[in-house]
Symmetry: C2
Subunit: 212 residues, 2 copies
């Protein structure tokens, strides 16, 4: 059975998955890159950029699970571009001509547009749909492989709250952002639906896995 | 120099340090004992109860740091008793005739009462004071030893926000309470004032230390 997976999803100690004030210049708002430094250091991330190098220790062991077995991604409008990217007919995402997804990728937005075929196997499809309906479309496209929920926090929380997520990898970064978009709101007793494991790595982050 | 320390302070993944609905029967509200199971299992806790047994591994290594070197404790009204304990002139805390503090213990309340000398060296003093003024009184009483901030979350957050805490040991419990009293509100960038370390133990909790 095709699973629904979330990987490398970083949150601050106070539960924020992105900062306040997102814009073209500051995709993560006032958080800057602080939630993602652990990930940027890994070989998995460097490979996404087509670059050599990067760490190959325990953070990379987690990071490297992001790609294998994934047949489609679903992301929220807030991940695809800065606020009001829908007003720009030329906007094609943050990732250049060859995005790192390499699968059909569903962007949830209340203002859909025609599909956009990129290099390297990524095609962006724009859907105004519920999480469950978006998942149906993505599952069909994934042809038996797993579906990744790619963020941001609002869409991630919606998929978790709807009980649609089978594998949830959260990375707790020991910083306090104070403001931004929270992941954990209204998910009381989530742990009862999963096996939960935690492990801290030498970078100082704690990897939490919720599996079922 | 006498330090200000916080130990064994448990929070849920979503940042709640106690549940909703605290009462005489439910001191932690709907959280029950879920935030404290890691602590109850330790030898340090069993010794507080005057009982044998308990684990002696890494959770206990952290738990055992609670007592040594402490000359006074400060706690909030919400730790000393259930809501409106101030209306009961006989209320003397949750801990029986021989409380586990064994030092002068300052209870911050807007409705102070005369001091209460218990067995075993604990004397409760009731103060309507700011964190800084309460700390002055506790430091004098501690005679060169450290002062522990004993909770609950509201008073703990106030002491942290006032920059008064030198050693902060937080235990992250991988559950989602959904509601209650949060620890982390309005503490943006706290990590910049401390060295932060994290370690996960086999009980599944993550011990975070903020030291300076």
């Amino acid at each position: 059975m095709s699973r629904v997976r979330i990987h490398n999803f970083s949150v601050s100690l106070d539960g924020f998955a992105t900062g306040e004030g997102q814009s073209l210049e500051t995709p993560f708002g006032h958080a800057g890159t602080r939630l993602n430094e652990w990930f940027f250091a890994t070989r998995s991330f460097q490979q996404m950029l087509g670059q050599p190098g990067g760490t190959t220790g325990s953070d990379d062991a987690f990071a490297s699970n992001w790609g294998p077995g994934i047949g489609a991604e679903i992301m929220g409008a807030g991940k695809f571009g800065p606020p009001n990217w829908q007003d720009d007919p030329e906007w094609s995402g943050w990732w250049g001509e060859n995005p790192p997804f390499h699968t059909p990728t569903y962007v949830l937005t209340h203002r859909p547009r025609p599909s956009l075929e990129m290099q390297g196997g990524t095609t962006f499809h724009f859907l105004d749909a519920t999480p469950a309906d978006a998942l149906k479309a993505a599952r069909d496209a994934a042809a038996g492989q797993d579906v990744r929920i790619g963020g941001g926090p609002t869409i991630t929380r919606a998929f978790i709250a709807a009980g649609l997520v089978d594998h949830l990898h959260i990375v707790l970064v020991p910083i306090l952002l104070g403001r931004g978009v929270r992941l954990w709101d209204n998910l009381e007793a989530l742990e009862e639906q999963y096996d939960v494991e935690a492990v801290t790595t030498s970078s100082g982050v704690t990897h939490l896995t919720f599996t079922r």
